[in-house]
């Protein structure tokens, strides 16, 4: 899929603009604070219906306007295969978000996500690897909501159960009034854990290889760290293969991980009562990123240099792109927000050749100076931006 057309109405400082997007992409050049990132933000909004920069919807409306609207047209690179139109709008006064896919309003936002198939690289990605575990859980949650069937549903139900259970604990309810929340917590929590574990185990090798390719030799690894002890044999996350011709007999959230989670939950009863919240579960998990080999056990967060952290963050994003390629069977649209300015010469070169090797699809990138654009031997159509006005 490629983005072939984009139209904006009162979005940030970009105002009302519409453009046809070249199938290879574009390189948007402009000074800082003129709206480069805003354009990529608009494109990625169509993927998740949230700002990738964590801005609230009402902050995305141009100053003094009642609403914003973004519409994108996606076309398949092969002819005769239809495209998709995705539109999203948000109105300040009613706080209502409306998402329309191919002319039909989606009932739940979750049904409309993932049509663009994009990955966004930004300088803020450094927090993915240098901040606390919640950033990495968020990374997994977004990635899997977009790429693993059923994940978002399990995640939402898990959070519902968790929130209620925590309030019951905080209120000091008797165990009999806390335990009714255990069943949904265990069921959806183990499904979430299994799908995350499955992703990390499947893409660990790819992460390592990508890190090595960008760093030019040095290695790093990742591992899912669960808040409870997992059974040794790797669980099968998705559908149970051994169930002969029956509907999913066990299914996610009902196997060994669920048992381990339940054990841990029962064992922590005393501790959670004292603290007033649920102390085990996927809301406490982390993805550990280590330098060198697993035997060395060096924590990137503690011992990593700025360059090593940037490389690890880039590798995570590249693996995210790889996931889109595997799961959705198509090249991701690559959005790069001022990424090269932060990388040293060698890393930039290796990242570029890696991207070229991967037979990437469309690339939309931004840079403050022409000199920073080296992707695709500098052949991307050059667009300029000044005070929000894009000239193609």
């Amino acid at each position: 899929m490629r983005l072939s057309h984009l139209s904006l109405r009162s979005f940030r400082n970009l105002g009302d603009q519409a453009f046809a997007v070249p199938s290879e992409g574009f390189a948007l050049v402009g000074d800082n604070a003129h709206g480069k990132s805003n354009l990529l933000e608009a494109v990625y909004y169509l993927e998740t219906f949230r700002s990738f920069r964590g801005a609230r919807d009402r902050q995305l409306i141009a100053f003094g306007y009642p609403f914003f609207r973004i519409e994108g047209e996606l076309t398949s690179p092969e002819p005769d295969r239809g495209g998709t139109r995705v539109a999203a709008a948000y109105e300040r006064s009613t706080a209502r978000k409306k998402v329309v896919v191919d002319g039909v309003e989606v009932e739940r936002l979750g049904d409309g996500i993932g049509h663009v198939g994009a990955v966004i690289f930004s300088p803020a990605d450094i927090t993915l690897v240098s901040s606390g575990p919640s950033e990495r859980r968020r990374f997994l949650d977004i990635l899997l909501s977009l790429n693993a069937r059923g994940y978002l549903d399990h995640l939402q139900r898990y959070r519902q159960a968790l929130e209620r259970r925590n309030v019951a604990l905080r209120r000091g309810e008797p165990p009999a009034a806390v335990s009714p929340w255990n069943a949904p917590l265990l069921r959806h929590g183990s499904a979430v854990t299994e799908l995350r574990l499955d992703w990390v185990r499947t893409y660990e090798r790819s992460f390592r290889a990508t890190y090595e390719a960008v760093s030019g030799g040095a290695s790093a690894w990742m591992e899912y760290r669960c808040s409870f002890e997992l059974p040794n044999s790797p669980p099968s996350a998705g559908m149970a293969e051994e169930s002969p011709g029956v509907f999913v007999a066990a299914g996610p959230g009902r196997g060994e991980v669920a048992e381990a989670f339940e054990d841990a939950l029962l064992r922590s009863a005393e501790r959670e009562r004292r603290r007033g919240w649920t102390v085990v579960g996927p809301h406490r998990d982390d993805v550990f990123i280590g330098l060198g080999s697993p035997e060395e056990g060096l924590d990137l967060r503690q011992f990593g240099s700025g360059g090593q952290r940037r490389t690890a963050a880039l590798a995570l994003r590249l693996v995210e792109g790889e996931t889109i390629r595997q799961v959705r069977k198509r090249a991701p649209i690559i959005l790069m927000d001022d990424v090269f300015a932060e990388l040293d010469e060698g890393r930039s070169e290796r990242l570029l050749s890696l991207l070229d090797e991967q037979a990437i699809g469309q690339v939309l990138l931004t840079a403050p100076k022409d000199a920073d654009i080296r992707l695709r031997a500098d052949t991307l159509p050059r667009w300029r931006i000044r005070s929000g006005e894009v000239s193609t």
């Binding site: 159960a161 929130e163 019951a168 309810e173 009034a177 009714p180």
Partner: protein, 197 residues
């Protein structure tokens, strides 16, 4: 404070009625003969005076026991637990249930500060104990939401040790709907709850 404002304020405290609708209702009343308004007032008056929760089951009635609890033909051995008196009406209209009811007065909802203490659970357990084994089945008819499910799980834990069989209303595809339009999680429930033909 004028009489009109008084009534508007009282009416707009009801669910689904805002100040605008309340004002419209008041003006409608004022257009008709004063008789109509007085009749409404008397009806509301006796509602407040006479209707009260049944001492046995919590359903609304005009005596100590509601009409259902007084009816000797109702089957004592089956008890249907619902969240509110409103649901009693829904089930009664089907004419298919001959047992008795128990009204909880809500469901477990920690976010709203509602725990077991705030619900009529004690009364339910006393009823089952007091029947000395004559209650053979308790049907849990709380709603299929996260909170309704948790309420059912909680009640099951409390009731089972007392002896009766505990059942739960079936969940799945609604009658008259098309499979095409049913959401994924409902289909999952329906698959899990499928039965032999």
């Amino acid at each position: 404070m004028s009489a009109i404002e008084d009534v508007v304020r009282e009416l707009s405290r009801l669910p689904g009625i805002g100040p605008k609708t309340a004002t419209r209702l008041v003006h409608q009343l004022m257009r008709g003969p004063g008789e109509d308004t007085l009749r409404l007032a008397r009806a509301l008056d006796s509602l407040a005076e006479r209707v009260r929760p049944c001492e046995e089951c919590g359903n609304f009635g005009e005596e100590d026991l509601c009409a259902i609890c007084r009816d000797p033909r109702r089957d004592l051995s089956v008890l249907c637990v619902v969240e509110g008196a409103f649901e009693v009406g829904s089930i009664e209209r089907t004419g298919q249930f001959r047992g008795r009811f128990h009204v909880l007065g809500g469901r477990l909802s920690p976010l709203d500060g509602i725990g077991p203490e705030e619900l009529n659970v004690h009364g339910l357990l006393e009823r089952i104990r007091g029947a000395e084994g004559r209650v053979r089945e308790v049907i849990l008819a709380t709603s299929p939401s996260v909170e309704g499910e948790a309420t059912a799980v909680y009640l099951e834990g409390e009731i089972r040790p007392l002896g009766p069989r505990v059942t739960r209303l079936a969940r799945g595809i609604p009658m008259g709907s098309d499979l095409e339009y049913v959401d994924g999680s409902t289909i999952v429930e329906a698959l899990a709850g499928r039965r032999e033909m």
